[in-house]
Amino acid sequence: MIDVLYFAWVRERIGEPRERIETEARTVAELVEELRGRELRYQLAFEDLSALRCALDQELADFDAPLDGVREVAFFPPMTGG
């Protein structure tokens, strides 16, 4: 079980800010692939990976990063702070 968090327009497309997911995915990319296969809203949210960023346990990570031991995955668009 893993917590998956969504922010900004990713959150809006998915329709909720977080969910718990049972997955066998070994990397972030595999998790994305799995989510895309679920419903249209996931397809829309994960349409263009180059427009997305992710964090594993609150640390920025790449999409090929392994999910071993990770408790929280977050997906969001490029940040616009400051």
């Binding site: 900004a8 640390e59 668009p77 940040m79 616009t80 702070g81 400051g82």
Partner: protein, 150 residues
Amino acid sequence: MGRVRVQSEDFDPATELAGFGAEGDVGAIVTFSGIVRGTGGLSRMEIEHYPGMTQSAIEKIVAEAERRWALDDCLVIHRHGEMVPGERIMMVATASRHRQDAFAAAEFLMDYLKSRAPFWKKEFGPDGAAWVAAKDSDEAALTRWSASEG
């Protein structure tokens, strides 16, 4: 050593900066304030953030600035939530012996806060609401810090 605060409430820069840099042998203090602009009839802005990550992400950016430059003091305050044009979004302050270090560290902090701290801005204007898109120029601004600087 640097202090980081993430909050929804407004803040008063003068209050926050009382005693700032008073403990070192400080010769230079640089501050940066980000303000909500009213461009294009913007009526308000909402800033979303990632509560579990924001504080620690900014603290890492501050630690990196303190590693690169001789800072005697450092402060970052960043708001989230709803704001209207003219309101203060955030503030960075750096104190150092020398002006070059204070300036460079403040610019470094701003460049990284723009693109590496988990905040997302949504603007509400006459044409509805839209998430602010990250600018290529903000991403490009980071490259100058990856070379020999600091």
